[in-house]
Each structure stands twice: as C-alpha cells, then as structure tokens.
C-alpha cells in the first residue's frame, strides 16, 4: 500500500512542487543536472505517491517495495521525492552537493535515507533490480521492484544482460521505467547512438511493454497498475517525455542535461512554475 495514495489531480500538484524543488535546489547548488530530473518528474511522482509500497519513517522496512534509480544524475529529482515523502527534512535539499549536507551529487545509500543502492555509473540499476526481484521470489513474498532508467543508458551492454536475465527467470515482480526524452549529453539519442525501436527490443526479449506519454498522469498510473497485474514476465514502461519539461527554455534541449540554471534563469523557471526563489526556498528552509 502506498502511504500517500494521491489522486490524479493531487499527483499533478505534487509533481509541480517537485519541479519547484528541483529548480530551487539547483539555484542554491549552482551544480547538477536539470533536464533529466524535470523530464522524469511525472513518472517518478506517480510511483512514489501512488504506487510504491514504501515507508519513509522506516526506510529499511522489510516488507517494502524497492525502487532503484539507475540514473543517479537525476539526484535533484530523487532527493526531492524523498524529502517530499518524509525521508528527511525539506531543508536538507538546500545542501545539495555541499560538504555540510548528506546529498551527494550522485546518491550514496550510506548517507541518505531512502536510497537503496548508490548510483552514478550508468547501466547498472536494472541488474541490481533483477537480483532483488529474484531474491524476493526466493522468499515467496509479494514485494515489487522498480527500476527507473534513462534512455541514453540503454546504450550500455549490461542493461541488455539484465533484460535477458529477467525474462529468463520470469521476474514478473520487476517493472522497469524508461524516461525516453530522446536527449543525452552529446545530443539526440537518434544521432548519438540510436536506441530505437525500444518497444520492439524489449518485446523481443520477452518483456511486457507499455509505451505511454510520460507526462500524462492518467496514462502513467494506468501503466504502473497494469504492470502489477502482469504475470510470467517482467514489464517495462517506456515513457515518452521531454527534457526539461515544465521550463520553456529548457524543454527539448540536450544542453540542459548536465547544467543548473544560473540564478536569473532559475528565477525565470520558477516564475513559469508559479513561484519565486524567495517563496520556495523559504518553504524548503522551514520544511
């Protein structure tokens, strides 16, 4: 049971808050990634606030579902999700990437509650999720395992080793989510190293595939719930998204993969998101 179980409209509001968190903490840190966290926000929000059976007050709850972010660089999103869920105070977000805080540039599970495994080197999360899903099957329990991946990391060979493994062992308690924003550091995935057709690839490896609009909350929740009911094979949700979603001057631009907004750009972004740096940083400081 998800501890929040937010309805669609409240999920949309939570996603908006998380986008505000992301921009605010990036203004504060002046270091970190903007594009991926914003493109992945809606799917991750639906997972953490409607689907995932997690326990922010007891992160190691042995009955919990597990989610692995294979894309450690979306840490602004990850930390916002965890703080908004109650794993740690919102004010911690203002210490992102700073020596005095516990929020590393890429997440460290030994420092930050709610992180299952440290991440930062791409292509590793799905294998970890496979191992956990396999272990849960050995225990004959009903816990589920999720893995949020990027599109660019589908270029890593180890992903496909894991894709093969999970279908071979019929890990139907495993659900992958791909943030398919078609952008990576060096440009468009189609130009850097084309990963398409992803649906056909996963399908041919024996997976159950959902291809959705990764910004449509109804489609996201629908796919996540449908995946829960799929038996005999793992599921993948391929969410078509837009890099930098929600901030007009970032949308669709690969250049926003790995940089933060400058303070004036950040203020402009927050205005588009219906707030100001003063207002939102105050909310975080008091949270």
């Amino acid at each position: 049971m998800n501890p929040f179980n937010l309805e669609i409209e409240k999920l949309k509001q939570k996603a908006l808050d998380i986008r505000r968190d992301i921009i605010t903490l990036l203004i504060e840190s002046q270091s970190g990634h903007s594009g991926g966290p914003l493109s992945c926000t809606d799917m991750a929000t639906a997972l953490y606030f409607n689907i995932l059976n997690h326990d922010p007050q007891n992160p190691g709850n042995p009955q919990r579902d597990l989610n692995f972010f294979s894309i450690g660089h979306v840490s602004p999103l990850i930390y916002s999700l965890l703080a908004e869920s109650g794993y740690f105070p919102l004010k911690d977000l203002l210490s992102f990437r700073k020596m005095e805080g516990h929020l590393e540039g890429h997440p460290n599970c030994l420092h930050t509650p709610g992180i299952e495994v440290s991440a930062g080197s791409l292509g590793q999360g799905l294998s970890i999720a496979c191992g956990t899903a396999y272990g849960i099957k050995m225990d004959r329990t009903e816990r589920r395992v999720y893995c949020i991946m990027g599109d660019g990391e589908q270029q890593e060979g180890s992903i496909w080793e894991a894709v093969m493994f999970s279908a071979h062992y019929k890990l139907d308690n495993l659900c992958g989510i791909i943030d398919y924003n078609h952008r990576q550091i060096d440009g468009e995935t189609e130009d850097v190293m084309d990963i398409s057709p992803l649906t056909e690839k996963y399908w041919s490896f024996g997976w159950n595939v959902y291809e959705i609009n990764g910004h449509d909350m109804n489609e996201i929740v629908g796919a996540l719930k449908a995946a829960n009911d799929c038996k005999g094979k793992p599921s993948i949700i391929i969410g078509h998204t837009e890099m930098g979603k929600g901030v007009s001057f970032m949308e669709g631009l690969a250049e926003w993969h790995g940089k933060p907004p400058k303070p004036d750009q950040g203020e402009k972004a927050l205005a588009e998101l219906g707030t100001t740096y003063a207002e939102w940083s105050e909310r975080l400081r008091n949270g």
């Binding site: 440290s118 991440a119 294998s127 970890i128 272990g135 225990d139």
Partner: protein
C-alpha cells in the same frame, strides 16, 4: 612433496559448508559451474544456485541486488573477469554501497597453465586493494580455502577469495585454525622473514628448509588475509628479523608485497625483496614450468633472501 589438492575444490566444499550453516547463502556463476567447482553447491542446493550465463557484469549486480534481500551471495567466475570486467560494478555498486557480496575468484595466478595469459589472473590484489570496503583473502591450500569460504559468510561487506586451478601442496589440515585478518607464523626464525600468500607459502617453507642448511634462520609467515593486512605481525617480523622477502603468485606492482611494503615503510623500514610476476603477462605452458619461468619457485625465494641479507 606430500598431499596435493586443488584450492578450487576447497572453495566448492567451503560453499557447501556455508550453505549448510546459513540458508541465506546463494551462489551465482557465469557459465563456469564445473571449473570453479560451484557444482558441489549446485547439486546440494539447486534452489539457491543461480546460473547467470556469460554476463559477468550483470552477475555482479544481480549479487548486489540479492544482498538487499538478506541473501549472502557468492558470485563466481575466473578472477580475471571478476575483477577486470566487473570493476565498475565492484566499485560503484558493491563497495561504495558496502554491500554484503562475496566474490569467488577462480584461476588466480600463472599456475592456471595452458589457457595462457587471458585466463591467468595476476592483477586482482592490486585492483581490489584500492577499493574501500573490499576485503581480500588469498588462501594457501585446499583446507584454508575451504575454511576461508565458510568464514566469509560471517564477515560483513564485500569480500574476495582468490583460488587456483591446479593441484597444489597441502600445508594445513582440517584442524588448523583460520582467523580472518590474522597472519600465522609457520616457522620461527630471526635472520630473515618470508611473508607469503596463497600457494607461495609452500615455496616459502621449502626455501626456509634449504636456507637452514646454510645456517640462515628463517621465519615464514602466512598472510592469508591481504586486506585488511595484519600490520602487527609484519612490524614484529621487521623489527625482529631486520629484512623481509614477500612472495606472491601475482603482479608485484600494487600486490601483496606492496601491501607489506606500505606497512614496513610507515613503521619500521628494513630491506625488502619482492617475489612475484615482474610486470609481464603470463603465457601458455605446464603450470610447474611456468612457475619456474616466472621465478616463483623456492630457489627464487632463496636468491631473494641472499640478496636482501646483504643489504641488512
């Protein structure tokens, strides 16, 4: 030479011991079931055995994921692949997260023989020593490998056990104590100390026996735990013997000898010599001939002792 047994069989039997002792022990292999001797475990506990196929990177992280469900996974393949191919997984996922993953590194050393350099792991200690949280055991024979494998399940965090392919002399017995992290003096002496790990312990004992005829009183110490290394026994050997020779079936750069040298340099600098593979790849050949060709025999240790004693 007395009884000969394979250390990989010791690993295989040790896994069965561990599986009997703890139901959370799980074994993974990458298409090398028989040659790593995890077949014993697979036959005894098929429900806890996972074949991953030829996908070592995936295997390392599947083991990482299993550890999050309370399992104690041993992932097993040849040491060359376990360390070099899986290094990013070992570094970022397993060691950085300090996960309870055990690694069985088969085919350690040049004594792998005819398969040649690609399969003769000579770098594992150098590579793994640089990873925080990683522990390394290099047992000397069948019995010590078996005991180290069983002991590993009670040591939290990432741990690597290195073992070989061929029959090697048995120098311990089933009752010899094994204590993780503690070196063991196998022969006392005050003129020179030979510190060895793995199969080189036997060569060190042979060398000490020969040196006795020349009136050189030789201490031989088995350092089965290379990380964390037993600093106390090393410092004591340096201060009481005044010179040290290290012996490993491994590259000398960054390996066991380097680990000893770090302790010596920091605490009590004395002359040292390093027996090991001297910055070269291996090659195909009969194991015993390779050990001679790469200067890993007792006579090579004797030469090193005589050289270092002149600098004492």
């Amino acid at each position: 030479m007395g009884e000969m047994k394979k250390t990989r069989v010791g690993f295989g039997h040790g896994l069965v011991d561990a599986g009997e002792k703890n139901k959370n022990v799980v074994v993974l292999v990458g298409d090398l079931r028989d040659s790593t001797n995890v077949n014993f475990f697979a036959e005894k506990f098929p429900e806890r055995f996972i074949e991953v196929g030829i996908a070592e990177q995936n295997m390392a992280n599947v083991a990482a994921g299993l550890s999050l469900t309370g399992k104690i996974p041993f992932f097993t393949t040849y040491g060359a692949f376990a360390t070099c191919r899986c290094l990013d997984m070992l570094r970022v996922t397993i060691c950085y997260s300090n996960l309870n993953v055990k690694i069985g590194g088969a085919h350690g050393g040049i004594s792998v023989g005819p398969d040649g350099a690609t399969h003769q792991a000579l770098e594992e200690i150098s590579i793994l020593r640089s990873l925080p949280n990683m522990k390394i055991i290099v047992p000397c024979d069948y019995f010590e490998t078996r005991k180290a494998t069983l002991a590993a399940i009670d040591i939290d965090g990432p741990l690597y056990i290195r073992f070989g392919r061929e029959n090697v002399p048995v120098v311990t017995d089933k009752d010899t104590p094994f204590e993780f992290g503690k070196g063991v003096v196998y022969r006392d002496g005050g003129d020179i100390a030979i510190l060895a790990c793995g199969v080189m312990l036997y060569e060190a004992l042979e060398a000490a026996h020969e040196l006795e005829r020349d009136g050189i009183d030789t201490r031989v110490i088995n350092i089965h735990t290379v990380k964390p290394i037993d600093e106390t026994i090393i410092i004591k050997a340096a201060s009481e013997c005044g010179a040290i020779v290290t012996a490993e079936e491994h590259q000398v750069y960054g390996g066991f000898g380097s680990a000893v040298a770090e302790v010596i340099a920091k605490n009590n600098p004395v002359p040292m010599e390093f027996i090991g593979v001297q910055d070269s790849f291996g090659r195909s050949g009969p194991p015993e001939e390779l050990m001679k060709a790469y200067h890993l025999k007792a006579k090579d240790i004797i030469g090193a002792v005589k050289r270092v004693l002149k600098r004492k």
